[in-house]
């Protein structure tokens, strides 16, 4: 890819070396591959538990996971797109569109919930396919395609609703984000959103560990080489955009439950998702990263927001602190992966 310096020097793989050397090299590579994000997460969680002794209880942890679920799901979607070497800036507006459309179409009728969810997934597939098509077939940079998609989605939804979202979400739709399975011993309640998060994680790990995940990384690392070795670059990237859009749909279903119907529900989520993925070791430009890292990054972001909340930091100052910490964390990660 243009302007890309030669890859960072890798530890010698030990072509002719002894088995022990090879193992050592593999262990070294493995240790470097562990994103720093998990260390940061542990520090943040311990810090939170000092401020809030109730945090390390089943309820505390589950509440935290429940709140992290939407951003973690978005981060997983962002991982696929970023790892394939692209950007998706449209997920935040897609979340807004899904929530607003669901409220308007279902209009509070519980019988409509399943068809509405099917409709949302259809919208997600359409948006992802469009993003992927323009990026791969028309060769418009994805930054621009998804930026234009952001404009178009915001414009279209407000055009349709006349500026103010109308309608309401049915109770059984809202339960997905709010309620959980009750009556379980010890932890009492497992929120549905945590179950959804686990399900999404499982699917994403299955995809990422399999052939598709390897093709994503190959395409992101060097799309020409991938194409020459027989990978359909366009198909891999379109798939990544569809996964990203679907993650936005799932996040929207959860957020519709806790946040309610507003035109601001998805604002800024695209940047949070990208930030989470990058905190988790995904490299912008593609070719490196992991699903678990992206989820870790989302958990770090959420822990950070929680901590700032505990200190009742003014929300404006919260922005400044977040900005500083993101730069610090990413630069630390950069030094680790490049071995400065």
């Amino acid at each position: 890819m243009t302007g890309r310096p030669a890859p960072a020097p890798q530890p010698p793989a030990g072509l002719g070396g002894s088995r022990a050397q090879q193992l050592l090299a593999a262990a070294f590579a493995g240790a470097r591959a562990i994103p720093i994000v998990w260390l940061v997460l542990i520090v943040l969680l311990v810090w939170i538990s000092f401020e809030n002794p109730l945090f390390f209880t089943p309820e505390g942890i589950l509440a935290y996971l429940k709140r992290s679920a939407p951003i973690a799901i978005l981060a997983v979607g962002a991982y696929f797109v970023l790892a394939s070497g692209e950007f998706d800036l449209s997920v935040g507006s897609l979340v807004t569109v899904c929530v607003v459309v669901a409220a308007r179409v279902s209009d509070g009728d519980p019988a409509n919930t399943l068809p509405v969810i099917a409709l949302l997934f259809a919208i997600g597939v359409a948006v992802g396919t469009f993003n992927g098509f323009c990026t791969t077939i028309l060769r418009v940079p994805s930054f621009i395609v998804t930026l234009a998609m952001l404009l178009m989605l915001n414009g279209a939804v407000f055009l349709w609703t006349g500026g103010a979202p109308r309608g309401a979400l049915a109770d059984n739709f809202r339960e997905i984000g709010r309620e959980g399975i009750t009556g379980i011993p010890v932890i009492e309640e497992i929120p549905y959103s945590v179950i959804v998060l686990l399900g999404v994680t499982a699917i994403a790990l299955y995809l990422a560990q399999g052939g598709y995940g390897r093709r994503v990384l190959a395409v992101g690392d060097n799309d020409r080489a991938a194409a020459l070795s027989g990978i359909s670059v366009a198909r891999v990237r379109i798939g990544a955009f569809i996964l990203s859009a679907l993650s936005a749909v799932v996040a929207a279903i959860l957020l519709g439950g806790f946040a309610g119907v507003t035109a601001q529900v998805g604002q800024g989520l695209e940047f949070q998702a990208i930030t989470a993925a990058v905190l988790g070791g995904t490299v912008l430009g593609g070719g490196r990263g992991s699903v678990t890292g992206a989820i870790g990054g989302a958990l770090v972001l959420q822990a950070l927001f929680m901590l700032l909340n505990l200190y009742s930091v003014e929300s404006a100052v919260e922005q400044t602190v977040t900005g500083l910490l993101i730069i610090a964390a990413v630069s630390l990660a950069a030094f680790r992966t490049r071995g400065s």
């Binding site: 890819m1 302007g3 070497g85 060769r139 407000f158």
Partner: protein, 366 residues
């Protein structure tokens, strides 16, 4: 270094038909920004026809002046953005730089004409400082430009929102002239825009910095191996970009007669300036393009805006249409570029540039 590769273009199929009409047109079409001017002409004709059918008048002096003035703010930011994008970087913090610059200008001038120079100086210094930090974080701390400038945007946003809720007064009357005065029929602000565009063009075309910026954006590793101090070039581009955003903040402060915490974000200058740069034919991965294309991109956006207003199109439909037009135009450039490349490869005279990959790999690699 790189200009020999990027500048002279063989005759284009699309442009050659026009090129036969006049040599001048052909010369324009051979530059990177040539096709952008074709798009500009097409958009102009479409807008002219649309407004005429609607029964309005498109080409009044007032309308042109209004379009130009509207282009000034975005145009200045976009010239700065062009520099960083040419260097395979980008700056997402410009919108907040614009806002904070307008506030700093108003606070420093404090309603006194004698402090205008001080205010301008403070704002420019602020811009240079932000750009320096962006550049250092990107080059020395090796944070990806996207994340580094996004982080800077959050930092500035926090500072603005925690300290300023409403407009900040303090712009003296003498300074408001910049926004409203005209020299003859030409508004002073338009002259400012053209001066900055000319400066950007000169910088890219005739200075060492310009050469090096194209080289760094084209291939940072090769530039470094050829002896370019790539970090300095990138840092300088970021400083110029943030200073340009700060100048826009001053201009908007003089138009509004006050500093405003929302003026930058309301204008959407961060993403809009990137859209204008790309609409202007500059390659998002760096190394190819220029300010003349960018300014045409800005004019295209301003013309669309003006036409939609004339036709009283719903503001939300406007966003939809704008999105479609941006994608279509960039797709057209990209198809054209690939077609030409394929022909050059077939003829064995291809320039040593890699195929355009639709990603921000150059930024990611840093």
């Amino acid at each position: 270094v790189n200009r020999a590769v990027t500048r002279p273009r063989p005759q284009l199929p699309l442009a050659s038909a026009f090129g036969r009409v006049t040599d001048g047109l052909a010369a324009i079409a051979r530059t990177t920004s040539g096709p952008v001017y074709l798009v500009l002409a097409v958009v102009f004709l479409a807008c002219l026809i649309a407004v005429s059918i609607d029964g309005g008048e498109f080409l009044t002096v007032d309308a042109i002046r209004e379009m130009l003035v509207r282009s000034v703010a975005l145009g200045i930011v976009a010239v700065g953005q062009t520099l960083v994008i040419l260097g395979a970087s980008l700056d997402l913090s410009v919108a907040y730089v614009v806002s904070l610059a307008s506030i700093i200008g108003a606070e420093t001038m404090a309603d006194q004409e004698s402090r205008i120079a001080l205010g301008v100086g403070a704002v420019l210094l602020f811009g240079a400082g932000v750009g320096l930090v962006n550049g250092l974080v990107i080059t020395k701390l090796r944070v990806n430009a996207f994340i580094a400038t996004l982080g800077m945007a959050l930092i500035l946003r926090g500072i603005i929102e925690s300290r300023y809720q409403g407009p900040v007064s303090g712009i003296p009357n003498g300074f408001e002239d910049l926004g409203f005065e005209s020299w003859g029929p030409v508004p002073v602000s338009v002259i400012l825009l053209f001066a900055i565009v000319a400066a950007g063009w000169f910088l890219l075309r005739y200075t060492r910095f310009g050469n090096r910026l194209y080289a760094v954006g084209g291939n940072e590793e090769v530039a470094k191996l050829s002896g370019v101090r790539t970090h300095r070039v990138i840092i300088a581009a970021h400083i110029l970009c943030a200073v340009a955003a700060a100048v826009t903040g001053l201009f908007l402060a003089s138009r509004l007669g006050a500093g405003s915490p929302l003026v930058g974000t309301d204008g959407g200058y961060d993403l809009e300036s990137i859209a204008a740069v790309v609409l202007g034919g500059t390659y998002l991965l760096g190394g190819r393009g220029g300010v003349l294309g960018t300014i045409a991109g800005v004019f295209i956006l301003a013309m669309l805006d003006h036409t939609f207003n004339q036709l009283e199109v719903n503001p939300f439909a406007k966003d939809v249409a704008r999105g479609v037009i941006i994608i279509a135009a960039v797709a057209a450039y990209s198809v054209r570029w690939r077609r030409r490349r394929r022909r050059q490869e077939a003829a064995g005279t291809g320039p040593g540039e890699p195929a355009p990959a639709p990603a921000l790999g150059g930024v990611g690699a840093r």
